[in-house]
Structures are given as C-alpha cells and as structure tokens.
Amino acid sequence: MKLRIWLGVCLLVLLAGCATRGGPLVLPGPNPAGSRMTIDSEMEWTRISTQRFQLWTIDGELLNRLYLVPGVREREYIFLGARQTRRRPDGPFFQPGMRADEVRDLIIDGLLASGAINIQASNLRPVDFGGREGLRFEMTMANEEGLKYQGMAAAFEHDRQLALAIFLAPSEYYYPRDAAKVSRMLDTLRWK
C-alpha cells in the first residue's frame, strides 16, 4: 500500500514538473518561454514544455515548430542532451563569448547533425534583445526526403548561457504564411 502511495506521489511530482512552464495553449501576448525567458506571441500555438526547452507549433511539429531554449549551458550541445568532454572534444558545443557567426555555425552544424540537408544561412545580423547583444539569421534547408524548409533563428547570451529560438516550417505555404509574425515575435525575446 505504502509503495502505491509513493508511486502516486512521484507521478504527481513528475506531472507537476511538466506543467509548471505554462499551459499547453499559448495565447497572443507576452508568454513565458521557459525559465526567465519571455516572448510576445502574435498568434495561438500549442506548447509542449520540458524543464529545459519548449516546443510550440500551430499545425503540427512537421509543419511549423518554434523551439525555445532559455539556456544552453557552457560546453553543452547546442540542442541540449550532451556535454563536451575531454574524450569527445568536438561537436557543436556552446562556449560563452562566442562570436555571432560562431553561434550561427553551432546552430547550422547542430541541424546538420539532426538530419537537415543543404542548409544555407543568410542575413546574419546583430540584434538587441532588451539590452543584451544577440544575433538573428534566416536559413533554407531540406529534410531527408527532399521537402524544402525555411527557418529563422535568434540567440543571445546571458549568465554564460545561450538563449535560443529557432522557427522552422516548409517553404511551401507554411513558412510564408507565418514568417512575418514569427520574425516580429523573435525580436521580443527577453531575459527577465
């Protein structure tokens, strides 16, 4: 009996951990984007939250996805989940103080390692995120089946960590439909 109670408590704690980063529906207006990161949304999204990142989508993950990471830590893989070690020194690992083009290369190489093909970045530019110097750029790519995607990324450093936002959608219909709104949204990323 005691074991069942403990299991129930553990399950509740785990579920609570998933639920503390905002509800599943994102409404237009200022929204938490994990930890102390915020972003102003211009439309409704469905949100999946974890302790380390949020994934927002409108029509489904393959048709549009906004990936929000409040903090990629020092020597951590750009898309989380692994760390640089002496044995495995190479890979797209974040280091504080990286140049904007080096952060762009981390994101591109991380996407390549995730299976994206023929990635081309464009228009790397400096952007101020509420007093924090950061960067933005756009990109084109294809998935393994040859479906063409477009995307945009924003990133800035805080507390020796990297805040990161990446939006990806198919070039056909979905990206052009939402790109202007999402672009304005990325400019509102802030670290409170």
Partner: protein
Amino acid sequence: MNFPVLGRRVVIAALTLALASCASRAPIRENAPGSTPVAGTDEDEIWYAMERAERELQRSPLRVRDQALNDYVRKTVCKSAGDYCRDLRVYIMDVPQFNASMAPNGMMLLWTGALLRARNEAEIAFVLSHEMGHFKAQHSLKQWRRIKDTTALLSVFQVLAYGAGAPNLAMLGSLAGYAAIFKFTRDQEREADRIGFDALVSHGYDPQAGVDLWARMKREDDTRRYDRPSALFSSHPATAERLADVSAAAAAVVNPPRERHRDEYRAATRPYLEHWLDAELARRAYAASLLVISELLADSPAADKAVLTFYLGEAHRRRNAAGDRAMAAALYAQAASLPGVPVAVWREHGFALRDAGRNAEARSALQRYLDTATQAEDRAFVQRELSKLGGAR
C-alpha cells in the same frame, strides 16, 4: 540431452524451416556484362528491392547533380569497368565522409568525402574499381545468402541452447554467428580489393596510388579517439591490413604503369573544393580535418595554397583548443599573403588582428572584406564589429 516433447517439436520445426530456407535458392549465375537475374530467384528479389531504393535515391537532396562532375566520375569508373559500364549507374552523394558502395543491381554510390581526399584520378579509380569488384563477384547476393543461412542456423542453435537451459550459451552462439557474418564481409572486401587492384593496373593506372590512398586513410583512422570499430564486428578489414596488402601487391607489379591523371582530376573537382572543405569542417571532427587539410595543403599546387591555408586556419579556430587561436591567426596572415586568397580570409584575419590588439590593421582587413564581399550574408555582423573598432563606413 533430454528435451521436453514440445521442445523437440519446436526444434524439428526450426530445423525444417532452416533447411527449407537453405534449399530455396538458385545457383550463383554467371555475371556476364548486361545480364540480369533469373525471374523468381532470391537475386531477382534483391534487385527489385534495390531498384526501389534507387528510385528513392534519385530524388535525394544529397545527390550531386552537376553534369560535368558526374560525367567525369562515370568516365573514370568505366575505364576499369569495361563492358560492365552499361550495367552501372553512378550517384555522387554530398556527404563529407570517405565512402563508396555498390548495390547488386549496378547502383554505385560515391561520397564527396572520398573526392576531397583523393589526389588524382588513379586514387579515385582505385576506390571505384574496388566497388566494381563487389559487383563482378556478386558479393551482395553471397552476403545475403550467408546472413540467411547464419540466421537460420542461429535460430536452431538458440532453440536448442534455451531448451537445454543454457541461455548464456545461446547468447554466445549469437555473438559467434554475427562475428562469422562480419568475417565473411571482410573476406569479400579483401577479394574486392584484389579485383579492383588488378583492374586498376591493367588499365594503366599507377598501383602506388592505392598505397598512397590507404596510407592516408590509415593516418586519418589513427586520429579517431572514439567510435573506433571493433576488429571482430567490423564489416571491413583493418586499414593497416589493407595498406599492407596493397603495398605488397604494388611492389609485386613488374614495370608498373605510372599514370595518375592529376591535372584532369583537379580540373574536374576544383570547383567544389571550398564547398567540400566547408562540409568537412561542419562534421566537427577536427583531429581528422586538421590532418586531411594539412596533407591536402602539402600536396596542393600553388594556386590552391591560399584556400587550403585559410581552411586549415578555420579548422584550428573552430576547434579552439589551447594554442589553436594563435595558430589560426598565423595561418590567416599567411593565406592573406598568397595569390588567389579567398575573400573570407580578410574577415578572419581582421578578427585575429583585433584579438591581438592591432586595431588599425584589423579595421583595414575587415573593411577590405566588406569592400570585396559586397553580397556577404554576414555583412551586417561584420559592419557592427567594424563599428566597435571605430571604422564603419
């Protein structure tokens, strides 16, 4: 050994199935140029599956579609393929690792990582002739049958071992079976090496080209600090063994031909050099990339020195281990003094000068980058950095 009645029936059923699968095959046909499998055979089924895979491959975004490069590679493989040329379709895939493969239906794949690493036509012909060796000897079919046989026997063995209450023995048996399959593929690789080498020499290529290529591959293999293949469960013989074999074979050729076609190879591949180097660096396997690029630099004609010096600097900068930034800075400075300097040198040279506190020279280099690369995608970023140095226009 006593088995329960049910166990005995299972054993008999498994043995019957295994024997049936072994018995349902046609003899290996004579693989004459232009010939195809007999309908209804297992080879016919394999070809059918490969043809479907090939149709997918033809649509792959990784496929390099440039006609000139495809024509050149096809011409090279056809030199040694002879009458088999009509059976081949060659696909160049934009993948930065060293690899090539051959499907039983004549679909040959060559990765751009191999094209970057080869120095001349003889070396790439050596790779392609090896793949042709697999085709001529019908290795895929033989391998398929071996896997089928081994799997069937393993199933029987496992049923017997589990039935006898020896699960650990069943597991050991599985490992031994899989090791036997890998050994079989390694033997096929050795046979393809021999067939490929003979074809290479008979068509007038320098046999030493194979030695040079494998020696380079071995040096690159030696840079790997992780993900090293196990000798027992590896599909290919160790690079050291292949190097020894090809060295011995080359030494045994009396009056060897000396043709390498270096100039033709450079003319066909030079337009892709920067793209392949970018892809090589994006792998983020810097120990290997530093070796590959430094050896390319050592072997390169004068016209390519600036580009390769720059990319060697890029490998150091991206790795960013102790001493790498200083090494990169020195290489950028060296590249900037060479003819045929790529425009990106001025950006990196500028940043290196800035980091060294040489701001006036940094401004000059960054401004030169902006003046030359008028359509650079990172223009706004470089302009901002230049502004910080007090030099934006």
